[in-house]
Subunit: 323 residues, 3 copies
Amino acid sequence: MAWSLSELAALTGTEVIGDPECRVYRLNSLQAAEPGDLSFLSQVRRRSELHTTRASAVVVPPQCESEVQHGLRSEQPYLTYAQLSQHMDPRGLPFSGAQDATASIAPSARLGAAVSVGPYAVIGADVVIGEGSVIGPHVVIYPGTHIGQRCLIGAHSVIGSDGFGFAPSTTGWIKIHHLGRVRIGDDVEIGASCTIDRGALDDTVIGSGVKLDNQIMIAHGCTIGPRTAMAACVALAGSTHIGADVTVGGMTGFTGHLEVCDKVHIGADALVTQSITTPGHYAGGAAGVMPVAQWRRNAVRFRQLDRLATRLAQLEKPKDSTN
Amino acid sequence: MAWSLSELAALTGTEVIGDPECRVYRLNSLQAAEPGDLSFLSQVRRRSELHTTRASAVVVPPQCESEVQHGLRSEQPYLTYAQLSQHMDPRGLPFSGAQDATASIAPSARLGAAVSVGPYAVIGADVVIGEGSVIGPHVVIYPGTHIGQRCLIGAHSVIGSDGFGFAPSTTGWIKIHHLGRVRIGDDVEIGASCTIDRGALDDTVIGSGVKLDNQIMIAHGCTIGPRTAMAACVALAGSTHIGADVTVGGMTGFTGHLEVCDKVHIGADALVTQSITTPGHYAGGAAGVMPVAQWRRNAVRFRQLDRLATRLAQLEKPKDSTN
Amino acid sequence: MAWSLSELAALTGTEVIGDPECRVYRLNSLQAAEPGDLSFLSQVRRRSELHTTRASAVVVPPQCESEVQHGLRSEQPYLTYAQLSQHMDPRGLPFSGAQDATASIAPSARLGAAVSVGPYAVIGADVVIGEGSVIGPHVVIYPGTHIGQRCLIGAHSVIGSDGFGFAPSTTGWIKIHHLGRVRIGDDVEIGASCTIDRGALDDTVIGSGVKLDNQIMIAHGCTIGPRTAMAACVALAGSTHIGADVTVGGMTGFTGHLEVCDKVHIGADALVTQSITTPGHYAGGAAGVMPVAQWRRNAVRFRQLDRLATRLAQLEKPKDSTN
């Protein structure tokens, strides 16, 4: 497949730099590009790469326009790249466009128009799926789940599984049946091998525009606000309530029964144990790696940290009071 | 469906408060309840919610009996709620009650009476499954695994997979075939997307009454004592031996070749690197989140912590010895 | 099945100690062995176990030869054990040796000779799989993935799923289609329930001889060098580049866009946030568990750590400068 710059400019709302008939065959990074490739500059501070790339054309912001011979001028080159990646995808979205004959779909499930269902997907009773959603291979959707329009569920994800709830008794743990559902808004993307449990009494709710990476765990009764994005391996314990436009780094956990307000950005590998009520950037978790001998010495000191602080306070006292 | 309080009292061994013929249609939380709902008060310190709830009836402990018009008196309201959740579940346990036609069951597998097998489950050669167990959709049970009675295995879990064991050699890693099995007791619940590896030589053993949440990883040769419960994303390295009645918070890891005694309770996100020989409550892991600038300063100091402690000790020395 | 020591010596390149016709029926550990079992001593410091084991024969290093009546003399007993585990495996590798009738294999996929495909595996369009590889049950391989020879992919792993990439826009996140592939070398083993995303533009590359445990997450555009081994639940963010002969402990994360050189060994539960350019042993992460009251006091102090260090520096100043 080949595209002219004029054609791609029309598709992305950008303007041609150089020859509108310049033809490109593939998207590529500036470093790896070969003649025939279209590339993009997303960070102006890396503009020197424009001089070494072999790309035939580059998407650049206006202030770099004079540095390329052919390309597209865009106020947001990274967004333009995202749009181009959709237009110039030779394969299209995998496992989309059909309901695979091997999928197991309950007769009472209601699927909107143009819903794709991948091989071996299981869609339980009374599930509702909105128009244009793509259910990946091996996805399991438990009975009663509601999924909105244009959602994308990655391979092996499980939606609506039993929450983890038991009451202690003299004969062991007594299972709490989970009577809630999972409700997912529109334009939600869920990666591969995620698990989203249904609520004990209330529903688990994933807002519209939410994006979840792979291997994410959402426990019973959580709510996630619109457009919140989470990187891989994040885990939410029960009844974690996360606002809108939040981002969460990979491997970060939430201990449950807490609230995070809108526009909070949390780094990787942290543990959120209390509500966050002020928007902003937060971090926690491990302090990076170091040679193992150094780490061992520091880890021992961490275990003595409170005692170290007490000794410091003692030294700070005026001399006469310590005698 | 509707239930009278007298009927529910008989099912749960509780006593009616108010009208025995009061009818309820659904379980709900005190805050979300509407007329027709039955709710419960599990923590006496939240008894003020009894005055604002719209629930038609509430399960309460004896000391709160006078504060509700209709309800059930229970010594253990949370346990009563668990029992009610089973009786008042309109759908029943998902994917239970049948062996799905799409399940792949080896001819040599022996399944007890009333074993349910979900869609696309794979049950390997010589597997034994006890009476009344429910194997979820897409569960894979490797050859030779033994599963007890009344177990519940969530969607996409893998039981009996190869352990991670290799011997180094001049030509790379040489695979160790795993000759052990996985043996699971009675009344065990395993959530969605767990992986439990079989042992290299000894078996991996999960005791009766154990409850595992989602995305839990149990490596080769681990043993878990009866009634131990683990929250999501816990991971055990090889030959971790955990006692009975232990609880483990989410995302906590065990580095393997260690023992944890009975009645130990470990918080979330910790790393257990040594045996624990005394029952009690333990914690470790990340110290919560903080604004990212504060975290960065503290993380840098963590890397200097041993040096800080040495400097503190220097200051503590009597003046004459330092000159 | 039974084997004579002379037969096993020939298979493993070791020498018989005692009776070459001594017959063994099973591999077992020194502690659990019964008469008829063959065991091995992998750590000389545990040689006292040779005197209490009930094993009929033991694989020992030359310096322990005189302490056993029958056995095999090996320069590398653990490697010999690995070889024996393959020869003495009564069941053989699970789900190997055939292409299951329920597997869904795209017509355009090219599978080499003797490729096994487990039940319900999904192999997408244009996938290439080399000779002798074993694809486990329920594995999903996205279109375009290349897998080398003699690879082993565990149950429920997903290879080639969409990377997690979106461009922000005024209407929410815009999906970046991922045009790269996953390329996997020869002799790679991937455990159960791993997810390996394909690259946005470049390929995600797993080198020959790499061994991955269960529940590992490899993001888009990562590269992993030959013979690198990772324990369970490790997660790599996008564009993490890891060298050859690296080992990584369980639950360790990489924040992406960084490089780790060859022969680096990283402990469990760490977070790698910067490139590592010197071979050696590194650690990070949680400082083990402690009683919860102690942990709480120390965790509070961690949040004050930078302030504590400043106070210490203040105390260290000569007296006259502080007045």
